[in-house]
């Protein structure tokens, strides 16, 4: 079972990312869970959401404390939230940043081999026209996990976005493009 923790700020779409990711993983034939950590719902406040992905049905309904992947939508959270808490020994951290993996690794106090970076905010600006980094980070996560099929994920996300944004079709293409770009641009250096 793969366990994932998303860190973001209220309004950045950490919850939506976990939901989209779960649906996409289901589309590739996996059992899934996606759940947010609910607290005071304020724009900008640190928030977390979670995924479990498994080949067999998931009956666990407790909190997720030892993720194998941590996705950080907002790099400033690294200063204020213990983002690596409980991270598995060989766990991986994916950060939305323009800094190198080595710089982030030093800052987080973990091995550089565990850190992946992608400038998701820039990708979101270019493709969606707004700094909404959640969908690009989805693409980065798919790449880093390595066992999920990108095309399946894209297809499912498109379907989901078509339902959600049926009155705003222009945002759909941008979101899909952002996933592809982040998938290709996420790096371990």
């Amino acid at each position: 079972m793969i366990e994932i923790r998303w860190h973001g700020r209220g309004g950045q779409g950490a919850k939506t990312a976990a939901l989209l990711f779960a649906e996409a993983a289901l589309a590739t034939g996996k059992y899934i869970q996606a759940f947010p950590e609910y607290g005071p719902e304020r724009m900008g406040a640190p928030v977390q959401s979670f995924n479990r992905i498994s080949d067999v049905p998931i009956t666990l309904h407790c909190g997720l404390h030892e993720p194998s992947f941590v996705v950080i939508l907002d790099p400033t959270l690294m200063d204020s939230v213990p983002v690596t808490a409980g991270l598995k020994k060989d766990g991986k951290v994916i950060v939305n940043t323009s800094f190198s993996a080595a710089t982030i690794a030093t800052r987080l106090g973990i091995n550089a081999s565990q850190v992946f970076v992608v400038n998701a905010s820039q990708i979101a600006q270019d493709t969606i026209g707004m700094d909404i980094p959640n969908t690009p980070m989805l693409g980065a996560l798919v790449k880093v996990i390595g066992t999920l099929d990108l095309n399946g994920v894209l297809e499912d996300t498109k379907h989901k976005l078509e339902q959600k944004f049926r009155h705003k079709p222009q945002v759909i293409e941008g979101n899909l493009e952002s996933i592809k770009r982040a998938f290709n641009e996420v790096k371990n250096v």
Binding site: L26, G29, Y38, T59, H61
Partner: protein
Amino acid sequence: MIKTTYAKGKVVAKTGNEVMAEAMRQIAPDVVAAYPITPATEIVQIFSQFVADGLVPTEFVAVESEHSAMSACIGACAAGARTMTGTSSQGLALMWEMLYIAAGLRLPLVMAVINRALSAPINIHGDQSDTMGARDAGWIQIYSENSQEAYDNMVQSTRIAEKLQLPTMITTDGFIISHCMEVVEILPDEDVKKFAGEFKPERYLLDIKRPYTLGAIDLQDYYFEHRFQLADAMNNAIPVILEVAQDFYKTFGRKYDLYEKYCMDDAEVALVIIGSAAGTAKVVVDDLRSKGVKAGLIKIRVFRPFPAKQLAADLAKLKVVAVMDRADSCSGAGAPLYTDVTAALYSNANAGLPLPKVVDYVYGLGGRDIDLDHFHEVFARLEKIKAGGPIGPVVEYINVRK
């Protein structure tokens, strides 16, 4: 790909609230009167969107409080309409006097309840204090471990309620299930409609050819008979609930009972538990089994009526039992599930049957997590008691600062 149980079923990723609303849309009740409250808000929100989009012909009544919601539901159901609502916590508490009226008038309403802690202190998260407090109101209570069960229980709900003429609540844990996206098999609309059938009340107020009085004053001469009839209906409810479950199994392929027995055949130590934490506990049971510990689990699905006889027989085979309560009764003598389980076991004592040792754990109030380590801790204690160790305090509180 993940296989469906029913050939025409569809596997989707949905939250507990989404599937509850989905089942309501498929059943398409005549009337829904509801007021939003966290964490059940989405049920009302999604369902009202279905109505607004013309996907369901239900008359949706947006009321100004839960007391009004239940009152409107009572009126609608008495008039002859198939009626549903949904609520949680303080909302259920505000419905209080109307809950007893719905049951006393024998109105087969169905209510989705998303279990949430009661104030004070204010808390929006999952525990079962709200519906446990309503356990003597004369409502059928069916609890769900996950979204699939919440959906399947909703699909079965109207038939149970209408056959028994008893209001029925289908519950699941707030946030833990209501807001957790999981894999759920959704059944086709027409098949759910066919399963639910039509609501044909024996008598209803809008039947002008057979006018009757409902809710009249009922003093020393007949009140007791009417309350006896209510108790009698509850006493005889189990066969009906099982019959609907059997038909659901035959039709859609998923089995339901009064409670689920997990690894119980040769179990010596076991938990009795309700709701989502049962799923977490099953992982621990599996782990212990792989190490040779004869651990088991009973997950209560139908809490009202309480399956006392059946449970007493199943628990008699055990050496030690931990009852897990996600609610406290503040009675000074154990939490709600514990008192019902131990009362049920007393019939074993009367009949000269063996009795397991029983301890009670109150856990998870206000959404406090209970994880694998906690269940390991509970089972370790049961094993020690089994080996002849002292029982210690009968009622324990787990994962709490004391």
